[in-house]
């Protein structure tokens, strides 16, 4: 097992830096003494080799798409083409400054401008901003624009409607914008309960936030009527694009009546997840909302591109500069490489793979919402729970088969939920291995439940005591603490 960085000590002179060329004291004399640091920082001192070994060994303790099947529902863990990393690393894209003159960055601006057009075409929206850094950041952006839109119409609307199957970011973003959240029920078939929705649609509703396909992996068949009802009540409809991978080239949120759309480039458009980020959360809008887009706006003048900053109705800025360019350029390359046909094929295979898994697994596991699904589906370990084994145990046991666990206990409306999204890049062979693993675990639950309850057995550590971790948080290394324990 690897020790902490702080527990290793080797030679380190940071020799990758040139010499100062004069005594430190002389340089320090440039500043008044009272601004200087008196002690530390106590950063660990390691040789380059030790740093390389440390982080390489750490990396080897991770599951990842490059090694493991990773069927995390709602996360779209598809293969991320390596060519895209190479593009983002090209000097002329990675070594440019956001404040260099527009004429010195026309290549980068062209990427951004064309990307806005591509995303508008793919989603059926009128314009896009690439500024938000992630999905939740996009939600914040979209909800702020919706607020600005209603204010421009002299309307005070205080409520956001959100289905009970929604991602946690939806209500959190609504609250961040000062909205009250009202929950909409899911009906027996796994769709938004239209009657419940209609009973809550009144003049106080600013917008309805929806994911389509929803988090159960089902397409909201009534979407056109739902959007119409919302619009009749003066509310806007917001599209959480977490599940856009199902719809590429098949249908478009803009055509369904959505007014604001966010996409997760790190899900649908192949930006690697990077152990939790960075992603990118572009937001698309219909014409009526264009004036409220964040600042600045990229415009095309003749053959050139430039930033328009004089935007009196804009909501403002959500982060410094223009967006996660290094992520956006990967997605730009992805769309260029796949083309329209390739994008559609991606969605088709994502749907095919999910339905195949659902069909193969429905005998061993309960599937609460039967029938065909889109790119993902939710099954339940309720049957297994009766034998004393829960979804979390099955998830941990899967790790021993070299397969990452599905999303568990989400959506909240399904007991012992296991949400499975295979993505289009996986082969039937891999899906079959996954089915065999789950069937084997199901047999173990009958024959040797302890094996499942005690899992994982093959990972660098076994089940972690999260309770003590939360009761007595240890969130950083403290050198003094170590000295104390040693005495």
């Amino acid at each position: 097992m690897s020790g902490l960085l702080f527990e290793r000590h080797s030679l380190n002179e940071a020799s990758w830096l040139p010499d100062l060329g004069e005594p430190e004291e002389k340089t320090l004399a440039l500043l008044p003494k009272d601004v200087l640091r008196q002690k530390g920082p106590e950063l660990p001192s390691l040789s380059e080799l030790d740093v390389v070994r440390h982080f390489t060994r750490l990396s080897q303790k991770n599951f990842c798409v490059d090694v493991n099947f990773y069927p995390l529902g709602s996360c779209t863990m598809k293969y991320n083409p390596k060519a895209l990393d190479a593009i983002a690393a090209i000097d002329s894209f990675s070594l440019i400054h956001p404040y260099q003159e527009e004429e010195d960055a026309q290549g980068a601006l062209k990427v951004l401008y064309e990307m806005q057009s591509f995303l508008s075409e793919i989603t059926g929206m009128d314009d896009f901003t690439l500024e938000p850094a992630a999905g939740a950041h996009g939600e914040l952006c979209g909800l702020l624009m919706i607020g600005a839109y209603h204010r421009s119409k002299k309307q005070k609307r205080t409520k956001v409607l959100i289905p009970d199957s929604a991602h946690g970011t939806n209500p959190a973003s609504a609250a961040l914008c000062g909205y009250e959240v009202a929950q909409i029920r899911t009906d027996a078939k796994g769709h938004v309960d239209v009657a419940d929705l209609k009973s809550k649609l009144d003049g106080s509703v600013a917008c309805l936030m929806m994911t389509n396909p929803n988090t159960l992996g089902l397409f909201e068949e009534e979407i056109l009527g739902i959007a119409r009802s919302a619009h009749e009540a003066g509310a806007l409809v917001y599209y959480d694009g977490a599940n856009m991978n199902a719809l590429l080239g098949i249908c478009r949120p803009g055509d369904m009546g959505f007014d604001v759309v966010h996409l997760n480039l790190h899900k649908t458009f192949a930006v690697p997840h990077g152990s939790g980020g960075p992603g990118s959360g572009p937001v698309g809008v219909k014409k009526e909302l264009v004036p409220f887009l964040p600042s600045p706006r990229l415009v095309k003048k003749g053959d050139g591109y430039r930033w328009e900053k004089n935007l009196p109705c804009s909501i403002g800025k959500l982060r410094a500069y223009y967006g996660n360019f290094g992520a956006i350029i990967r997605s730009y390359g992805y769309i260029k490489a796949l083309g329209g046909e390739g994008l559609r094929a991606a969605a088709e295979h994502a749907i095919l793979n999910a339905n195949y898994l659902k069909a193969r697994l429905k005998d061993s596991f309960e599937v609460p919402y039967d029938g065909l699904c889109m790119h993902e589906f939710v099954m339940s370990a309720a049957r297994q729970k009766k034998k004393g084994v829960r979804a979390i145990d099955i998830a941990k046991r899967l790790l021993d088969f070299g397969i990452h666990a599905p999303t568990v206990y989400f959506p909240l409306i399904v007991e012992e939920a296991m949400m499975i999204e295979p993505t289009e890049t996986e082969s039937k062979e891999t899906l079959d291995e996954f089915v065999r693993a789950l069937e084997a675990i199901d047999r173990e639950i009958e024959e040797d439940p302890e094996k499942v309850l005690g899992a994982p057995h093959t990972t660098p550590v076994s089940r972690i005591d999260e309770v003590t971790a939360a009761r007595q948080p240890n969130l950083r290394y403290r050198p003094e603490g170590k000295a104390g324990a040693g005495l």
Partner: protein
């Protein structure tokens, strides 16, 4: 006192023990089991005025957070400081050392709206179940 005799309940699983104007509040055994391992209790500030059924504090487990409501209106006069270091008392002794806070009641008549133990039990998740 660590038994549940004579307690009154809110449907949201808070119990209250009334002694004169002083109400001691905790959560039922059923509730602590549902929450499972309590990892943190976010206690209210003393002197805070609360209304009946208003959210007063939050109990956290590893994977969830639960709002706890005031069974009686009044002023918070004491909080169980021990929970700062031993949140697990809520699990180990829900009716005793795991109490949460005390309120000086402003209206004792409010107690009439609370359930007695047999009514609370009849909801199908009796204390000590």
């Amino acid at each position: 006192m660590s038994d549940s005799t004579g307690l009154r309940y809110l449907e949201t699983h808070e119990w209250v023990r009334l002694e004169g104007k002083i109400a001691t509040v905790g959560i039922s055994d059923h509730a602590q089991k549902e929450i499972s391992d309590v990892v943190f209790v976010e206690l209210p500030k003393p002197d805070r005025t609360v209304k009946q059924k208003e959210s007063v504090l939050v109990i956290e487990s590893v994977k969830a957070a639960f709002d706890i409501y005031a069974p009686m209106s009044g002023k918070v006069i004491r909080v169980n400081e021990t929970l700062k270091t031993k949140p697990d008392l809520v699990n180990r002794s829900p009716y005793g050392e795991g109490w949460l806070f005390q309120v000086e009641c402003s209206d004792l008549k409010e107690a009439e709206a609370l359930m007695d133990e047999s009514r609370y039990k009849s909801l199908g998740h009796a204390a000590g179940h």
